[in-house]
Amino acid sequence: MKSYINNYEVLCDAGDTKGLMQAIYAKKSAVSIDVSYIKDRPSGLGKMHYDNIFNVLKDVTSKVLKASNLENFKDTLLILGSSVGGMQECEDIFYSQKNYKNINPNRYSMNTLTDYLCKEFDFYDSRAISTACTSSANALVLAKRLIDVEAYENILVVGADGLCASTVLGFHALGVLSDKPCLPFDKERNGMNVAEAVAIMLIQNTKTKDSMELKGVGASSDAYHMTNPDPEAGGAMSSMRDAINDAKLSLDDIDYVNAHGTATPANDRVEALAIEKLFANDVYVSSTKAITGHTLGAAGAIEAIISCEVIKNSIIPPQTGLQNQENTNINIPKESIEMSVKNIVSNSFAFGGNNTSIVVGACV
């Protein structure tokens, strides 16, 4: 059974899907410089304009439902990918009251978000995945496999993460938080931008007139280090290869790689090596995190949506900010490329050496 991506919508620092794609093609980073999280140290962060994450979830889900062929979500499985869940609210309470007494344990973890959506929209069932920055990419992996085995006809995949002090301070502690909009694959890159987003996709077993296909998924573990990627790039190559094999495609069929491309020194070096080893110079590569920042658990879903839009628009996104490319053996465009785009690999990598790749393609 094939998996079709039939409807989707985003809210991120660059706005909705339309605003995001305009920013990507205009090479206009939506990352802003913040001085509120870290004393005396500016941070480049990707901030949404919103009141609270629950209202964003409700609004974006409503838009996807309205655009879909469904009347409701009663026969739909909800799969969430998130790395912080309800952490924002719990942090606020803890930092203001300096104890746990008024923290509701049911509003701490990932299920806070699924519980809310189930209450608002009455889904058949739900599950929540948290594998750090591969969370919503892994939600897509499960969605495709559940449709493959004919367990469900409709699956709503949600990638959602809000900004938290613990993630901003944590990436700062690791020495990988940039003080300016990030520069993926550039020699001068100095780290990532923590960001927030809600990205929602309806995956179905039936094709509609605007369908894209979720053609393949692949996942692997580095078994190398908790935060640093395998320098030989074996894990990243393995997840990409598995996704392409799952799609029953060859390397030549891939037109573009939407890279994980966080702009940390280690990630970009290893990911570029993986792409070089696998594709040589034969595929276009860029990272849209230069526009969105790194939306952590939402990254897999938002970049899958970007991949759908790239196919629809027939325009390969340029690499925003790129001046001095570090690995010149891969093909990173500095300007948009207009061409027919049939298949895209989108990568997501996470702490613990967790690698996930998906293949999104035009329907044939």
């Binding site: 942090e91 299920n111 948290s130 750090a132 559940l146 085995v149 301070l169 280090h225 702490f351």
Partner: protein, 215 residues
């Protein structure tokens, strides 16, 4: 919605009111530097996987609260100093425990971490069944909660056992005919997020090997 039969190959459970004393960590992780970095969830997960005889393959790990100790540490550090320990931060993600397993055992296969509130272990079982069905391989399904942090009494209203975990190695059984639904064999005082998998472990201990799971 589709149901499949899973066959339980091996199972294990462990729990304690405050802290599980003997997790055999020195034997399981001989390298001292690595052993010192392990979280409580990681030690419990390593213990359970060893008891289940699992060293390599696909893992589905479930935890509602996951690395609570590391998260509490970084919240305290943020409040007091405005700066965090990098080790605590890297150890605070929900896939920390299975990632240490992967590192220690050289397991390069897929890891999925489920955190679905009080139905975490049921959803971990469903996901494990899917992974086993798609791959035709044996899968480790393991769920752990370690809640033994300072001031936990301020929020703990349901668990008498602050450390608990359970796990099974399972595979798909193509003959669904005599598979049993999950029985309610809850252990009083264990947090509900673990109870479905605990029930499956107890069913296995009672001689029931084949369980019906809705994907």
């Amino acid at each position: 919605m589709k149901k499949v039969a899973i066959k339980i190959i091996s199972s294990a459970k462990v729990y304690a009111p405050t802290q599980i004393e003997e997790l055999d960590t020195k034997r399981l992780v001989p390298k001292m530097m690595l052993r010192r970095r392990l979280t409580r969830n990681s030690k419990v997960m390593l213990y359970l996987s060893d008891k289940c005889g699992f060293t390599n393959g696909k893992i589905v790990y479930g935890s509602c609260y996951s690395e609570l100790e590391e998260t509490a540490k970084i919240a305290d550090e943020a409040l007091m100093q405005g700066a965090l320990s990098p080790t605590s931060f890297q150890n605070s993600v929900y896939n920390t425990a299975p990632s240490y397993f992967s590192l220690i055992n050289g397991d390069k296969d897929e890891i999925i971490t489920i955190s679905s509130g009080m139905k975490t272990s049921l959803d971990a079982l469903k996901t494990s069944a899917l992974q086993a069905l798609v791959s035709k391989e044996r899968v480790l399904c393991v769920a752990v909660e370690c809640l033994n942090i300072k001031n936990i009494e301020q929020i703990n209203r349901c668990a008498d056992y602050l450390e608990a975990g359970c796990g099974v190695v399972l595979e798909i059984d193509d003959d669904i005919s005599d598979a049993k639904e999950i029985q309610n064999l809850k252990i009083d005082g264990i947090i509900n997020s673990l109870q479905d998998l605990m029930s499956v472990v107890q069913m296995h201990e009672n001689g029931i090997e084949k369980i019906l799971i809705e994907l």
